[in-house]
Structures are given as C-alpha cells and as structure tokens.
Symmetry: C2
Subunit: 331 residues, 2 copies
C-alpha cells in the first residue's frame, strides 16, 4: 500500500481472541473481576482454556479491531504489531489484510507463540478477558515503520501496549515521528486496570504527546484517581485537543477546547457480546476525523459501529460498516 | 464417560470451520455452486484462504455439530473422528469435550493437518463450502470403539464420511456392531453432490443398514435420481424405519411406516448463516428419539435447534438448547 494514502496507522498487541460463553460463577472460580482484562502466562492460558466452554476464534487486539472497523468504513488503515510465524499468527495476518488493512510488521521466527485473549462472555453480554501476550513482547522501537507513521494522518496507540516491556519505547518513538511530521497522535486507555498499572506513564503521555484521547468512564476516572465522571472529564480538558469519553448505553461525551458534545448511543438490536465496543467506537470516530466531519458526527459514526459489534459474538465487524453509516445518513 | 450411558455416538469428519462473508461474484470466480460442498486439496485450501475475507474459526464437522447440539439439549453424546496433533486438532477436541461430548479417538501423530472447511456465507445466509479433509483420511475401522458403539442407543453417521477412502469400512463396521447389539443406526446424507459421488453405496446402505435417515430435498432427490420431492419421499419409504426430510423454511416431513407428519419450521429471529441447520435439526430429532418422544415432537425440537443455529455465524449452538426447548414447551 502506498503509505502516502494512509488515514490511520494503529499500533497494538496482535492477538487472536478465543471467545466462549461463561456464567458468573466461572469468573469467580477463576478469580476474574467481571469486565476486566487480566494478563496471564502460558500455563494459565492453557489451564483456563481447558476449563472454559466451547469457543470460537476470531482475530482481535484492540487497535487491530479499530483498524478493521476503519477499513470496513472505507478508510485506509495500516497496522503495526507482532505475531509469531505460527498458525494463529497466520490467522491474524489473513484477517486484518483481508479486510484491507496494510500489515507489514515481520512475524517473530522464534520465542513465544502468537498472543491469545481468552474471552468469557456472560449472559449480560459483558466480556472478561485473560490475555497471554506471547509474541507481543517482541514488539520494539525497530518495528515502527517511520515512513508509514509520518505519512498517516493519525497514529493510533492502544493503551494495552504499555504492558509488554519494550513497547512503551515503540509507542514514544511512533508519537515523536508522527508529531515531527505534523501529524496527530491518538490513544485509547484500553482498561482501568491497565491504566492503574502504568498511571504515571499514561498521565505523562496524555499531558505531553496525545492529541486525541479515547477512554470510558472507568478508565478516565482511574487515570486521575477521581471517582466522579464529570470531575475526571474536567481534569482531562486542556491536556488533549479532543477527548472522546464513552459511557456504554449512555452514549459518549466529546470534549474539545471549552466545548462539550453529548452523543447518544445507537441502540443495538440485541446485546450479545460487548467485546470491541470501545475499539469500534474509536474506528468510527477516527474515520470521521480523517474525513473532516464535525465532532458530533464522528461520535455518531462511532456509536453506530459500536452497536454493530455488540450485536454478535466477536470484535471484528460482520456487516459492512460503510453501508450501515450511509444508510444512517452519516456519510 | 461411562459408555453405558451414551444416547448417541456420532461418527464424522472432524473439521474446524473457517467462516467468512462473501458475495456471489466471489463464488463464481472460485467456481463454486452456491450451497454446495467441494472437496479441495491443501494447495487449493491455501489459495482460497488467501483470497477470502476476514474469517472466524469455529469447530464444525457435520456429526460434530450434531453431537454438540445433542449435548446442549442435555443428551449424552460421544464422537468418533480423526484430527492431527496440531493446534486446530486441539481446538476441535477442546470445543467438543467442553460442551460435554466424549471424544477419545486418538489424534494422528503424522500425516496431513487437521481438516478445515472454508465456508463462504452470502448475504442470503447460504453457505458454500470448500473442504480440505486432511487428517480425516486417516480414520479407519480400527478407530471404531466397539464397546462405545454397542452401548449407544443410536449410532449416527454423516454421509460426508464416504469421501475419505478408509471411512466407508469404518462406517460399515460401526453399523454392524450397533445392529449386533440391537441398537439403531442413523445416517445423514449431508450433501447432494456427496450423494452423487457415492450413490450406489448410499442406496445399498440405506436399503440394508439404516434405521433413521436424515436428508434434505436435494439430497433425497439425488439419492433416487428423481426430480420430484414427493416421489423421492415415496421411494425411501420401506427402506428405513424413520425418514426425516428437511425442506428449509418449509419445515420437515417425517415418514414412518405408512404415516407422514409435516412439521413447520421455527421462524429464526434473523437468518445470518445457515451452516449447520441440518446438523442441528438432526441433533434435536435424535435427542427426542432417545427420550421416547413422539416423532412430530422430535421434528419440532429439530426445527427449534435449526432456528437457533441459523441466527448467528457458526454451526455450534451459542445458546443453551435445553433452555430454549423447555421455554418452547417441548421438554
């Protein structure tokens, strides 16, 4: 792909999701807080997989989902992330390139296997995740394609990338390249516990390097250690040019300079699996930004994409999002 | 599992499904007739996978789906089939045992990889399949667990099993053991082209060894090379004790001795992917039989299970079928 034409480059943990239904007692038995993401090692991944129900496998990874959503809307996306040269790695690469996202990061030829995220979906559609990072630990600054990042309108970073040790350096290198080229940098906070694990680094990043911030209520509250959403939202103002704060069924609030916009959620026909809701909101929002659409429209496209993803199992779109957005009069 | 307690043992090709949306022009370009199953070799599987869209992976195999459905209804099922000791083989084994089906056939430690079925789902929900049989070719008579087959109320055979070379012998051995133990043998014809490939063998089997036959319109017509459904249905009468003939949205017709029962389809909330509809109809029907329910009730449970499976992507149940059947007043 001609990197000059890239709308967004996403950088994240390249993960295959393994998704099963589970009841709340299973979560309790496994020691998981519902809705959380827990990092697990290879042994734990094996024992958890053995204990969980029948599953489907679907490419995932937060930024990977976002790039798939962007491509489904008709945007030009690229992805940077690390898989191993194994079957799941081939699955990840197939799925993201098949939807039209450029993905040229070479696979690791040694070391841990391609990452997997064991996702337990409860009857309320909530997902609880155990992530084995595997090959993601090998992503480092050298994997950042400087030409690609400089060319992309927006560089999008998932917060989960703070977990593997070398990736923070990759993160910072990408942000520096993007800004050096006069481009914008977006960040998703990913998970309140991930924020708690790296709070100081995230605060520094948000204050210094981020133009566009995505966070849900729990994440923005965790970032500033404030219980009240309105107070946390006030705290982020001034640090970033745009903050898109999602509130599940209550929609989203978009902050820009001194302005606030409240965007309603798009009702999903049914809520089956909320995995990827935030990732797809970001996809729609970023797509709108790259097309120069007004911020409330960006939020509405995000809400529409989120509604599609929660109506089925899996975090990659099943339906063409461009068609949905056109039908809704948003494009 | 104590084989004395087995309701149904299913014997089939152990396959992982790789499911993607596709448009009709893609099918034409690949030379597939919509709705058909084409056997493909490893090279073709690779090139087709490279050309197809983003996919999800889900355990499949016709009899495997049926046994998963039976277990979801609360039945005691066992499965005989051949995987390789590779990642997809581990996925297949995990999924079928996690839903409560006993699966003890040892994995092949050499030879071709675990089978996969590349499934292309068009906007009308129809599925078109390219199957790479891989390790299934290694299933032979020695893999038939005689004690298990003798103990099961019903031995269920999928017609697709006639494709790999040694499996017909496994098939006949299983039928002989089951009948020797005073048990019943059921067969699904699987696919009209599969019937055409092995028509003489199927006719001989149906006339001599099968107690319960499952077929859709195209399959029963192909078996007798008759264009008219009513005439084909008349032709099968007398050959088997029970024939359950499915007609998609028109429901099913059950023939037993000189009687016929017409069972309405259960309307699906939405038709997303018809993969597994016949397999799940068989699951519900067989479960009803093992519980001694009247034939029309068996058909209604079958229709209910089929409606669940076509409302989402994938051929294994997402919702507990027992709960659905209870809610519908069928159990």
């Amino acid at each position: 792909m001609n990197s000059a034409a890239i709308d967004v480059v996403g950088i994240g943990n390249a993960i295959v999701d393994v998704i099963a239904h589970a009841d709340e007692s299973f979560l309790a038995k496994q020691g998981f807080a519902k809705g959380s993401m827990t990092l697990i090692d290879a042994d734990r991944a094996e024992s958890l997989y053995a204990a969980m129900g029948p599953a489907i496998e679907s490419s995932g990874g937060s930024a990977g989902n976002t790039m798939a959503g962007l491509a489904s809307l008709g945007g030009a996306g690229a992805y940077i992330g690390k898989v191993r040269d194994d079957l799941l790695g081939a699955v990840f690469r197939h799925d993201i390139t098949a939807i039209g996202v450029s993905f040229d990061t070479p696979a690791a030829t040694a070391g841990p296997a391609t990452a997997r995220c064991l996702i337990l979906v409860t009857a309320d559609g909530q997902r609880t995740m155990g992530t084995y990072l595997g090959a993601c630990a090998d992503l480092g600054p050298d994997d950042i394609d400087a030409e690609l990042v400089a060319a992309a309108q927006i560089t999008y970073l998932e917060g989960y990338l703070f977990d593997p040790p070398q990736a923070q350096a990759a993160f910072r290198r990408a942000a520096a390249i993007a800004h050096g080229a006069g481009r914008r940098v977006a960040l998703s906070l990913s998970d309140p516990f991930c924020v708690a694990r790296h709070r100081a680094a995230f605060r520094q990043l948000v204050a210094g390097d981020i133009d566009i911030l995505f966070a849900n209520e729990a994440e923005i509250c965790s970032l500033y250690e404030i219980d009240d959403f309105a107070a946390a939202a006030a705290a982020v103002r001034g640090h970033v040019a745009v903050a898109a704060l999602t509130r599940s069924a209550a929609g989203s609030v978009i902050l820009a300079d001194s302005l606030s916009y409240t965007v309603a959620a798009v009702p999903a026909p049914r809520v089956i699996d909320t995995t990827g809701a935030g990732d797809l909101y970001a996809a729609g929002f970023l797509f709108g930004l790259t097309r120069g659409l007004p911020l409330p429209t960006c939020g509405r496209i995000g809400s529409l994409c989120a509604a599609e993803i929660i109506s089925h199992v899996g975090a990659r779109p099943e339906l063409g999002l461009k068609g949905l957005a056109k039908a809704a009069g948003l494009l």
